[in-house]
Symmetry: D2
Subunit: 288 residues, 4 copies
């Protein structure tokens, strides 16, 4: 009988006994959605949160039911909302949490079609606040409320635009740089004081609702797919990696930005991508 | 007779015919001050700028006289002020500029003693605005006004805190990360459109008026001095390197963060620093 | 009853059904030893290997018994030995493997006290061969023999000396740079052809038999302990992380150098290390 | 009259009074050739060196005449030859040198068409010896003979393959990683002992005799040209940058790998490159 138990594909208990908070699930294509499903499979209990507006458009109720979780709406830029989220989560879950996923990003400059050399600075500050500073607010409040247990793990989702400029990614590149810096800066403090680790995952471009908003996204996805020896990492694979970072297997990994991208970040040029690129010149008039 | 000419120590003409704008000179210990002196020696003409308040406390008039420059006060967070600065500079200098130095940074959280886990978010946004976003405002306005010539060079001063967390550097670390990201993001656009290059210099900790504000600064300076094979880089040496980046010798260097630190950034541990550190244990009761 | 099953501390099956090869276990302080123990706990079967000389001094037999593994001696610089190792392993394990740990490093220049500015070049080539090239030989032979299954995972142990110079680490720094480059170069090919991922772990300085050989090691360990917000990572924690990299949770992580160091790599200066350093000046005559 | 002097385009004296050694000039497309020309213009005196075989195929005599330099043949892997080169250079130039350019690289595996998963290990060791270890031999001998003056500057040419894998670059990627590591490792020692700085320039792919040997080079050159906001850096521009690194303007830059690539290294995707890539799909059957 013991054997048969282990034949279940997901019969691990990597997060057994762990409590958490998951930001940013919108629908089943969201990375945060997959993280919630897998955290549930691994024995974790957690609350879910997103903005009130995201909850109207999304399908968070379905996920909450599936994972036996409660939803606590919060505007991640609001200190009061984050405070409420942390307090309610501790109440519901019966104490401080062990893991948090921050999967939040939004740029009004991108949405409104303002290019990087014609930014609206109110939008810009909003981009930084939503996509970067929200992470600091979460961590500062968690620290003040002592809302994360010793050896807890916090993960935020980032993108290689924090290191390398991509056409069209706009002010989100700056926001991701800020986010990764906050992970390091607070990672030092929270690690020193409470052994809490803080990392970012730099994920392949992913066809989520958020990712799809970036201009010229399909061409980029094709390029990174051909450049990456293992192909682009999917949302589901990203969730697997996130589980590893929440688990006790990674207790001494902190202040890192971890590329989860099928190898893209370490590629200069692949055969497949070069080969495809060269096809663009088949038309003789290109050959100048 | 030709020979004697060259015996003058600074008889180069590396910036001959070049026009520029230099932000951030306060007094003779400022890096920007040294840059102005050296740019003048190398044949450049330029305007100087700083905030109205800095001009009251500083000695900018003396520098202006020395370099035959005009001063245009500007709050670097004010789009209107930056616009005025660029327009006036072009008027005074007779056209678009060839180089700009951005040497601006300030954190009210640091000044007011708010630690990184107890930040005031209004101060934080101000830190980002002054120390990071001001660079974007400058570049965006310059682009709109076409205020930088083809193959112009823009340099902003940064610090290794953008990559590695230092106790006490606080939210300035996040601001420097943002600054370096803006340099990359705008470096792409301004390079593509107008061959303007944008880089940051990551300078050793320097005993300027700004640098001295950071907590525990003397110990850090001693440590980095012993860690760096060439010792800490001085403000004057930083100015030399800045001149190289403004000159035509570096036309294809862009979107880079360049460490000017006597080798510190590539050191894990030096003999001198380890030796000094080990002296801290001479007292037997430390040896636990 | 189901519940009680999961109360066993290590009742995971993260590597259930997986086969592997583990290089470099010497005694119970070795990282490779801990990896073997944990891989065994997680349901893997594997062969063990080390050099004939290491096997005389080490206690590999004890580990083999514990893990129900066979030992196949091999000189990692010998193509013939590696070939034999791979073939025997496939024979014993019943087919290609799913994971390999490369934990090999040795410098005769270090052992013989030759400093980096007085290297013996025969020793140097030997250092590169043992500590770097052996990884290529292993991968090239595995590729030719098709000895690694689809989605297999290969990990080599590295050190931050590959990026930052440490007094006394000598030519091992160059060897680790080479090792990490080989991981990237072959990671591309093996990923593209067979979905095999190849990564290096950059581990904290660790008091293993190998680590202890480096000059001034105790002072360094103390410094990195105080610099790292989570403290130095132990050999056992490194083994946990290795298990995560062997598991299916990290399928799209490849060509990466992953810092497992309690945060050290992202630190510029901690309060604790600065505080300790400053004690070295308590003696007034130091204060010049 | 003074004014007219300065109207000469290259009437700087950046390297006036400096002595040097330049490796690797073959013909007028070589980066080393351009460095020699520009160093001469800037007032330096220097010796030239290359292998005996390169001297038969190349046009080094012409360069030597132009720069009033002597040629000292040397196999860069031979300690005896390097010793002779350094001694002869000091004799000819009247003392220790102030700068050295190392521009050496060769892979028999590339030449003989051995792919990275089918390397010949004798060739591999030769690649490392010629392209990497030769730099250590040069530095170690220079240190022993005290052949470089205080505040001297040593530059070696590298390529981004040291960080990111490129199809076809083969074992030269590993050699460049090794080269950059040697620059750091020795940069520490030579900086600490004698204030000599050691850096690598990571140059755009360049159509030199050496560069042209790499497979699929033209497509890559086109791609990097479109990716880089300033376009690929030319050999001549690389020489300019090298002059800056030899000059006193960069005295505190050491142990760095400096990207001189028109911005390529900081790009994730440009509009131009994406646009060109997307043309490869104009043919409908590609659109699967």
């Amino acid at each position: 009988m013991q054997k048969s138990l282990f034949n279940f594909k997901h019969m691990h208990d990597l997060l057994k006994g762990k409590k958490g908070i998951i930001f940013g699930a919108l629908n089943s294509s969201s990375i945060a959605w997959k993280v919630a499903e897998k955290a549930h499979e691994q024995g974790a209990v957690f609350t879910l949160t997103n903005t009130p507006v995201a909850m109207r458009f999304g399908e968070l109720d379905e996920l909450a039911k599936k994972c036996n979780s409660e939803i606590i709406p919060a505007d991640a830029t609001s200190v009061a909302d984050i405070k409420n989220l942390l307090e309610k989560s501790m109440e519901i879950l019966g104490g401080p949490v062990d893991f948090i996923l921050h999967s939040i990003g939004m740029s009004l400059n991108v949405r409104k079609g303002r290019t990087y050399d014609d930014l609206d600075y109110n939008y810009y500050m909003k981009t930084l606040d939503i996509s970067g500073l929200s992470f600091h607010k979460l961590l500062q409040l968690a620290r003040k409320l002592d809302a994360i247990n010793e050896w807890g793990s916090v993960v935020a989702l980032s993108y290689i635009a924090a290191q390398r400029t991509l056409y069209g990614y706009n002010d989100m590149a700056d926001a991701k740089s800020l986010l990764e810096s906050i992970a390091r800066s607070f990672g030092y403090i929270y690690g020193r004081d409470k052994n809490v680790r803080i990392n970012t995952i730099s994920q392949s471009p992913t066809k989520t609702t958020a990712g799809s908003g970036v201009k010229g996204f399909d061409g980029l996805i094709d390029f990174t797919e051909r450049m990456s020896p293992l192909g682009n990492a999917t949302a589901e694979e990203c969730a697997d990696f996130t589980i590893a970072l929440f688990s006790d297997l990674t207790k001494k990994v902190t202040m890192q930005n971890l590329f989860h991208d099928g190898g893209f970040s370490s590629m200069g040029m692949s055969f497949k991508a070069m080969n495809q690129y060269n096809k663009s010149f088949d038309n003789p008039e290109e050959l100048d």
